[in-house]
Symmetry: C2
Subunit: 232 residues, 2 copies
């Protein structure tokens, strides 16, 4: 396998820059191909990346290794997006969780589902644990402040809110919802699940400029900007 890291010793020459780019191209292609079909072959991924199957093995010794790296990057992305969320009003914080999740995962829904429910789910769950703790903390804060429902155990409620947000992603697949509408829906659903009536949710959103679409930080960018198209 190609050694991309800067070896401490014995580097007759530095690794080539284009190799690193190809590595990114592979990851990128893998994201979109696996999102299209979770069982996509390396052949498919390679050609979407504009490379030969053989050369994938120059970057990843195994299919599993490739998938694992994809998961790791996804986890890092989500963690980075959700960890900094903090707000006095737990309801606003939860709405923000939904919104950030939406913008990060929007274009990798299928892969995300697979990561969460597929064979690697335990490892992924472990990686996602800090995020989950964060959401749980928000819920507990909200319950303590009397802002959230108390008819569902905080632990369960936290999961349900995550799940509700993800289900918006799923519906978005079918209806091809716009970025803006997805943003709006995911916030509404998060607040509804948290226990607010739809009118309360509307009030809260009106009163909270930080929930506006324009107030959101840009999603951590994709690895590269090429549209992954295979060429014959």
């Amino acid at each position: 396998m190609t050694n991309t890291s800067t070896s401490p010793h014995r580097a007759a020459r530095a690794p080539r820059r284009d190799a690193a780019e190809n590595r990114i191209a592979i990851l990128d292609a893998a994201i979109s191909e696996l999102n299209h079909n979770p069982d996509a072959s390396l052949e498919t991924i390679a050609s979407a990346a504009g490379l030969s199957r053989r050369s994938i093995y120059g970057h990843f010794s195994t299919r599993d290794e490739l998938v694992a790296e994809l998961n790791d990057r996804g986890i890092a992305r989500v963690t980075a997006a959700l960890a900094p969320i903090r707000h006095d009003d737990a309801r606003v914080a939860l709405a923000l969780v939904g919104a950030r999740l939406w913008s990060e995962v929007e274009d990798v829904r299928v892969t995300a589902q697979l990561a969460i429910r597929g064979p690697r789910r335990e490892i992924v769950a472990e990686g996602l644990d800090p995020v989950r703790r964060g959401v749980l903390a928000i819920v507990e804060q909200g319950v303590a402040a009397g802002q959230l429902r108390t008819d569902i155990e905080p632990r369960t409620l936290a999961r349900l809110i995550e799940g509700a947000a993800l289900s918006v992603l799923d519906e978005a697949v079918r209806d091809d919802i716009s970025h803006g509408e997805g943003h709006r829906l995911v916030i509404l659903v998060a607040l509804s699940t948290a226990g607010l009536s739809w009118r309360e949710a509307a009030e809260l959103i009106d009163a909270s400029p930080e929930l506006a679409l324009e107030a959101q930080p840009p999603a951590s960018s994709r690895l590269s900007e090429r549209s992954a198209g295979a060429r014959p």
Copy 2:
């Protein structure tokens, strides 16, 4: 393939009863094995059914045919459970949709997800269309009666409610939620998504005896009651 139907002509003898039982055993085993691992092989399914792989081909000419029949039965089950739902109060009707869905799909969550999102999704969607129309009709009725939220388009809202119910199923996988708790949660989540606050939901539930766990019709029974255990 074995001809289970009563042929009009040329039946030297009636098909054997145990063959029909085995067919059911295969379907049953397929349900639970595929729910455990959506890529389970026929070998796995066969041995879970207590049969040899070879004899599966006596009942289904193809793996696809087996899966297709599974889907058809699932669709029929869900349709049968949801179609008769009717109630003056759309909110109660939606809660019932959630509850019935829960009891029908509870033990086949993974398979259900696969059916809805997997390679057969289009065919499944077609089969599920009547159910979806039904839910949509309830939502429209509720909007017209001023019982439901109006900040989300009925079509979308209908989907979101379905999705919310399904996400309870997902959470149930992790937490190993009891039948009763699942019933309660799915109703709460459906009502929340429909726009009610958690206190309004509680009031409605209190006032609606038909939502009680005990008031539910039994789930259309599984094909057989054997626990699907493979024997070496």
